[in-house]
């Protein structure tokens, strides 16, 4: 008894993998380069990095290519790869004010402090399908990164609307004096009653569609808890990543990541709330993904206001991870014949119990059963 008895399943999965590989890597078009994915499908790359919780554009591109464009699969590949890597260092916290903006929108004011910088966005592009059969020509000249009217350091690092509202005494002050370590959701599993840092981390890695749906369900669904916010900041830009140098003990910059950051201004309109103030929800995720950051900011303040009265926090913390939800859904494809047999056993038992309790009722006619044919049975 040994290996051969278990061969059938292995042969089947090897054949399935070969079918995947043949279609993906075959075909008549040239092979897809990772650089093409990072350049031409950059929003997909950003989304995969955000949901994987790992900034690695080239690896995300490789994952997307391997997964044939399936975003969840690609995020899974990236996270599983991360599981094999040792954590070499903890970054030094950076202040979000260090964000060098590529885009910044302040819907709450016509002329806010600092620039309204439209930057790179599809928001106002006509959704007209370009059915041209020739590939798009290279732009000439290559446009440069969007520039604020004031391209100085201040223009690239504008102040926040929140600061203005604070100076006007309009923001409920929830800032705390201590500086607790953030909850690391990759080493410490999250449960309801979690600190805000855990909630924000969960949402930063959450599946975009899950956050959007949770937000919308709470707007329009029968159990809604969300109040629509006014956006104070929508930013996309670059943040430095620093670690402490092991020899000098000084922080050194290792590179930068692009993030989307949102501040959502919330009108405190509840009966027992401080009606004279606004409050703020926060969203930040890797890459350019405004949909996700906006949903995150609104859900952040909604959970805060809810204070554990509704299932909202549990929904946010436990149901928005794309890998968890997709994996569990798809596991239904696995064989379940052991459990199903047990369920059938109970159905038969319930019927038998009912017959015992009502013995006068006629028994169902038994159907003829063909004799067993053991020789035809194989595994």
């Amino acid at each position: 008894m040994g290996y051969s008895a278990a061969r059938g399943g292995l042969d089947a999965i090897l054949a399935a993998e070969e079918l995947m590989r043949a279609k993906r890597d075959g075909g008549s078009s040239p092979p897809l380069g990772a650089d093409q994915v990072t350049e031409r499908l950059n929003l997909a790359v950003d989304r995969v990095m955000g949901e994987a919780g790992l900034w690695a554009p080239r690896l995300a591109a490789l994952a997307l290519r391997q997964a044939e464009g399936d975003l969840i699969e690609a995020a899974h590949l990236l996270r599983a790869y991360r599981s094999t890597r040792m954590r070499l260092a903890q970054p030094v916290p950076v202040h979000a004010d260090e964000l060098e903006i590529l885009r910044r929108i302040v819907p709450a004011y016509r002329v806010p402090p600092g620039p309204q910088l439209l930057g790179r966005t599809l928001d106002y592009a006509g959704r007209l399908l370009d059915v041209g059969t020739t590939p798009p020509a290279k732009p000439d000249p290559e446009p440069t990164a969007p520039q604020p009217a004031d391209p100085t350091r201040d223009g690239r690092h504008p102040g926040r609307l929140l600061d203005l509202l604070r100076s006007q005494g309009l923001i409920r002050d929830r800032r705390r004096d201590d500086d607790p370590e953030p909850h690391d959701i990759t080493t410490d599993p999250v449960r309801p009653g979690a600190p805000r840092s855990a909630r924000l981390s969960v949402m930063a890695r959450a599946e975009t569609g899950a956050l959007v749906n949770l937000w919308y369900r709470n707007i329009l669904g029968p159990d809604g808890y969300i109040h629509e916010v006014t956006l104070g900041e929508v930013r996309h830009g670059r943040l430095p990543v620093r670690v402490v140098h092991p020899v000098t003990g000084q922080p050194v910059c290792l590179g930068e990541v692009r993030v989307t950051e949102v501040e959502a201004i919330e009108d405190l309109d509840g009966e027992r709330e401080e009606r004279a103030f606004f409050d703020v929800g926060y969203g930040l995720c890797l890459g350019h993904n405004e949909r996700k950051a906006i949903a995150m900011a609104n859900l952040d303040i909604a959970v805060e206001r809810d204070g554990g009265r509704s299932p909202l926090e549990q929904n946010v913390l436990m149901t928005t991870d794309g890998l968890d939800a997709s994996g569990f859904l798809e596991h239904l494809k696995l064989p379940h014949y052991v459990t199903f047999r047990s369920m059938v056993d109970r159905k038969v038992a319930i019927k038998a119990a009912a017959e015992r309790r009502a013995p006068e009722s006629p028994a169902p006619a038994s159907s003829p059963v063909e004799p067993a044919t053991p020789t035809g049975v194989t595994r």
Partner: protein, 290 residues
């Protein structure tokens, strides 16, 4: 250690897929689980090369406790040849160099989904069960903070009432697999979904049973020689699956967990390797042949 040495060690393929820090964390959680039988210990579940719900918890437990000298058996529904069992086995073997077997008696670690082998397991064997839903009380309570309170205070009223109501309404307790058990007289525990047939095998067992729920990020354990009592009433006995007159079409077994084969109007053993051995034995003995 120099940075280049550190980077080199990080770049090399890790034994058992996970980095050492992750394996230590999982082992710490498992030690807690063994010390507090039936208690669900939170752990930092890593993303594995298999999807959530596909044995990622069991795989992490196996990889945290396995060594290159181990012999591993992996089954799904009792079958070594099931596709997901085959996939998990190749991942375990490829990343650890452990030996593989289909013989439950020869394995030092058995990773399983939905079954406990028919062969009695010994004190030198570890059974690793893949767990989709570790919370036995979820059917009666959805709020996780309330569930934590109920376990902490051993407040199991709700599940007892639900079993009683089930009995009154249906004449039998209708829970099929994953039957709730009281472990060590203290914690109510979900029995993965193994069939009720397998539940008594956990009571006062010789072997260590480790349960891994990767998606829900919890592990729990039943150490050897621990009481595992199905929740049942004094006057209504716990029932295992049994069909009058059913026997295995292949090996003739009556006293095994059988699954129906409707095309042949009969039954076969779900424990495929055990069944195969019994077919050979009955063939050699000139008894029932399959």
């Amino acid at each position: 250690m120099t940075v280049s040495a550190l980077a080199a060690s990080a770049a090399s393929g890790e034994f058992g897929h996970l980095d050492e820090q992750s394996k230590r964390e999982i082992r710490c959680a498992l030690l807690t689980a063994v010390a507090v039988p039936g208690y669900q210990v939170p752990f930092a579940s890593r993303e594995m090369p298999v999807a959530r719900g596909w044995g990622s918890g069991g795989l992490q437990v196996t990889l945290a406790v396995i060594g290159p000298q181990d012999t591993v058996k992996v089954i799904d529904q009792g079958d070594d040849a099931g596709v997901n069992a085959a996939n998990l086995r190749r991942l375990i073997v490829a990343s650890t160099g452990a030996a593989q077997t289909t013989d439950a008696r020869a394995a030092s670690i058995i990773q399983t989904r939905h079954r406990i082998p028919e062969d009695p397991l010994g004190a030198d064997q570890v059974l690793v069960l893949q767990v989709p839903v570790p919370e036995p009380l979820r059917g009666v309570e959805r709020d996780m903070r309330e569930l934590a309170r109920m376990h902490a205070e051993a407040d199991y009223t709700a599940i007892w009432v639900s079993l009683y109501e089930d009995l009154v309404r249906n004449g039998v307790i209708t829970q099929s697999t994953g039957y709730p058990v009281l472990v060590g007289g203290r914690y109510v525990m979900a029995t993965t979904p193994i069939p009720r047939w397998d539940v008594p095998k956990l009571h006062q067992a010789e072997f260590l049973a480790l349960f891994g729920a990767g998606r829900e990020k919890r592990v729990y354990a039943v150490p050897p020689h621990t009481d595992v009592e199905p929740l049942a009433f004094e006057d209504v006995a716990f029932q295992v699956e049994r069909t009058e007159g059913a026997s295995c079409l292949l090996c003739g077994a009556v006293d095994a967990y059988l699954v129906e084969v409707p095309a042949h109007h009969g039954w076969i053993c779900s424990d495929a390797a055990w069944c195969e051995r019994h077919q050979r034995r009955s063939g050699e003995g000139g008894g029932q042949s399959g």
